[in-house]
Symmetry: C2
């Protein structure tokens, strides 16, 4: 496998089919990861995204402090981890032995190219995002907008601007409904 | 089959797994329909949604004039129609024999309960939405927020707060990647 850079004008295709994602953040020594089903592309080029980040989250603090975050697109092999990450708070781990969710859940990361947030190993796509400050909608709706400044994908399942999961069931993206119930993408159809 | 009302606190589950949707609008005698892959839930209760509606669309005029729109969740049986609707403008039909996309594409509708926009037959879920005016993000990002005031689903594939597509492949939701390439939901998995 290789992790390939994705042309920015095609980065929206990593989110267009509606996967649940993981948001990673870092500021100084602090870092965190949370799950977010509520995300969508917002523009093609330069690519922008919109994502909901709850008021009470530690992630929100780190997004505001660092002005950036990464969107990691997890896969079927990671479903249990996604649920665990989604139902725990990084704030509660502060000062404990495993003082962040990466340590508590044994998550490996690698460095992003343009932002401080770490990228999570084992995911199938990654979008490096710089916050577009819009305090009114952040405070009123927990809604955050960002520009995608770099994007990456696992070439086993995404190349030439399209997803191709055939033969890689464990790498299919996760689409959360509620309460730990997910779909993975099934049939691919092409309308002429 | 029956079209059942969905408890408002669970309406987000109709969009949570990331389907591509059709936006219907009406104002006076004018009405229109457009495709929108860029949509997401924004809050649970009262339920809110966020959706991208391009500046140049006729839909945008009708949303702003009426203060409301409907989100229709189409299914596999409608894939060709979704692509047609997504690649034509209702504005160009004005004054012609078939002066709107419903007539041009032979689309049947039924009345919504709380808004003027028609609901499209053959879809599997419907959300009636009232615009939350936020001119700055509407004008800057083509981003529209709305409160969901009523929601409906086809009980063959959605009931008790969950999707169940088994035995109804033609009713599976559509998840657009790009250029007429869609996924439908495949495996359903439950993480405990």
């Amino acid at each position: 496998m290789a992790i390939n850079p994705i042309e920015l004008s095609k980065a929206y295709r990593l989110l267009n089919h509606g996967p649940t994602v993981l948001v990673t953040t870092a500021h100084g020594e602090q870092r965190n990861i949370m799950a977010a089903a509520w995300n969508m592309p917002l523009d093609f080029d330069p690519p922008k995204v919109a994502i909901v980040i709850d008021k009470n989250t530690y992630t929100r603090e780190l997004v505001l402090a660092s002005g950036s975050f990464a969107i990691n697109v997890p896969c079927r092999a990671q479903a249990e981890m996604v649920v665990k990450v989604g139902s725990s708070s990084g704030r509660e781990l502060l000062g404990k032995d495993a003082d962040n969710k990466f340590e508590a859940f044994n998550l490996s990361t690698f460095a992003a190219s343009k932002i401080s947030a770490p990228l999570l190993e084992g995911c199938v796509a990654w979008l490096e995002c710089k916050l577009i400050p819009e305090p009114h909608i952040q405070n009123t709706y927990d809604l955050y907008l960002a520009e995608v400044v770099a994007a990456w994908a696992d070439d086993r399942v995404f190349s030439d601007g399209r997803w191709h999961f055939e033969g890689h069931d464990e790498l299919r993206t996760l689409h959360h409904v509620a309460g730990g119930n997910f779909f993975t993408p099934g049939e691919s159809l092409q309308v002429k």
